[in-house]
């Protein structure tokens, strides 16, 4: 193993990690806001990838250009899912945790089933995007351009999210609702609007990730499952509900995955991630940046 291969691997791992962070942050945002885990998060990603695919197939819109459209569509989708499904699940009088789990889990199964029915289980891919298949050499390290762009989009999205949360009135309302959802009515804020906004933002962020990933991943009804699993690990690693933690967690997961691939056979590349995850759960159950 040469230094060059190590650097190459870590660079790819970093790029993938930034994408994992982008996938996970919506999950962390929603969990932090209302203590609900969206078990359909992977299916949100799947839907975003299909939207990107169909925009390309029918309207010849390149996934890169489509990314803002996909994010906007997924914002609406997320907000609608909150307003017509999750809001009612939260009214459960008993066993509210279970009701929420099975509601979003049921939603996942429904979305997957509908995707299989309408989109067929065939593997799709966007074959001729502007960036697809291109690589760039930076000081001897070869980086695939779609992943590189994905990483930059991820950083930009985090920057925008950070600005939104810290500097805008809506962001402050989001933080306040996170602190005490029952108290925002005291200042005239409708918590349902804030929750819908949170689900919309969560959808938009995973939508952005889906649009980017459509450039270099196969698109099929079950595609969300494996990424969702990594997203749960990322969120737990970073600290549940911490948006910054999800970002950092994503990078760690990407780097650990790449390092494992260097040391172990490729089929075991996920072992490292889950090993680190277990370690964190044992030693620091609230996650690396969690404040619970």
């Amino acid at each position: 193993m040469t230094t060059a291969t190590i650097i190459q691997s870590l660079a790819s791992g970093l790029l993938m990690g930034l994408l994992y962070g982008l996938i996970a942050v919506g999950l962390a945002l929603i969990f932090g806001l209302m203590d609900v885990t969206n078990f359909a998060h992977g299916e949100f990603l799947m839907l975003a990838m299909y939207i990107s695919f169909f925009l390309f197939a029918f309207f010849a819109i390149d996934p890169l250009l489509a990314a803002p459209l996909v994010a906007a569509a997924m914002f609406v989708f997320g907000a609608v899912i909150y307003l017509v499904v999750v809001r009612f699940a939260m009214r459960a009088k008993t066993n509210i945790g279970m009701v929420q789990i099975f509601t979003t889990f049921g939603l996942a199964i429904l979305m997957r089933g509908l995707a299989q029915y309408f989109f067929t289980p065939d593997y799709r891919s966007i074959t001729q995007s502007w960036l697809g298949g291109k690589t760039i050499s930076l000081g001897g390290v070869f980086l695939p351009v779609p992943q590189l762009v994905g990483a930059l989009v991820s950083i930009a999205a985090f920057g925008a999210l950070y600005f939104f949360i810290k500097k805008t009135d809506f962001g402050r309302a989001l933080e306040a609702t996170r602190e005490d959802a029952g108290a925002v009515a005291l200042v005239g804020i409708d918590k349902n609007k804030v929750f819908a906004l949170g689900w919309g933002l969560g959808g938009a962020l995973v939508g952005l990730a889906g649009a980017i990933m459509a450039m270099f991943f196969y698109i099929y009804p079950d595609v969300g499952a494996s990424f969702a699993l990594i997203a749960y690990v990322t969120v737990a690693l970073g600290g549940f509900g911490s948006v910054f933690g999800a970002f950092a967690g994503g990078i760690i997961v990407g780097l650990v995955e790449a390092s494992t691939a260097l040391l172990l056979p490729p089929s075991l590349k996920s072992v490292g991630i889950y090993a680190v995850y277990l370690l964190v759960v044992f030693i620091r159950p609230r996650g690396l940046f969690g404040s619970i």
């Binding site: 402050r172 009515a185 200042v187 005239g188 804020i189 918590k191």
Partner: protein, 234 residues
Amino acid sequence: MLSVHEVTTAYQGLVAISSVTIEIAKGEIVLVAGANGAGKSTLVKTIAGAERPRSGTVTFDGQRIDGMAQHLITARGIAYVPENRRLFPRLSVEDNLRLGSYMYRGEADRDHPLELVFRLFPRLQERLEQRAETLSGGEQQMLAIGRALMTRPRLLMLDEPSQGIMPKLVDEIFQAVLTIRDAGMTVLIVEQRMAECLDIADRAYILQTGRVLMQGKASDIKGNPDVRKAYLGL
């Protein structure tokens, strides 16, 4: 300004207040007193929209508000400072205050009540950057009142503002209530510390086991021999 008519509110079948009727006129300071469990908090929660009455009506400026969503009642001009204050603990003092004026975002002078808030409680101005959870009990109460004032209420309702606060600050808060009234607001105050509160109130209601036991001018109530014996310990 506010009229609560024959209101009954129950929690899971247990009646907390029963056919309570109270009237508040503009510019008054009205005290609602009574022992623990008399239903004082339930009454203000029902007015604020945090609880729904089982029967009866609540009318504010001529319009029915019972059954309305709590945030809409806040928007109509009733600010409610609950017993446990419900600040946003990990947000700064400044953010808590700015959230109070959230409804007026986009307006150039959205924070104009801030001048009054700082005049009442100068120490909040010194602690703007601090997290709300790091304030003392008294300062937290001041911040809760400050945040409520930022919503530009016409009626301010305070539930046990003296609870868990050192006596010196209690006076400061009662003095603030007088200034708030002078600034044009109406105040409903729920208190167990009747003696001090009767000094600043115009009128008072005494609740007992969910019903209005007595009502009248603060001075009359203070002079009433039964009240002196049962509530004031004189």
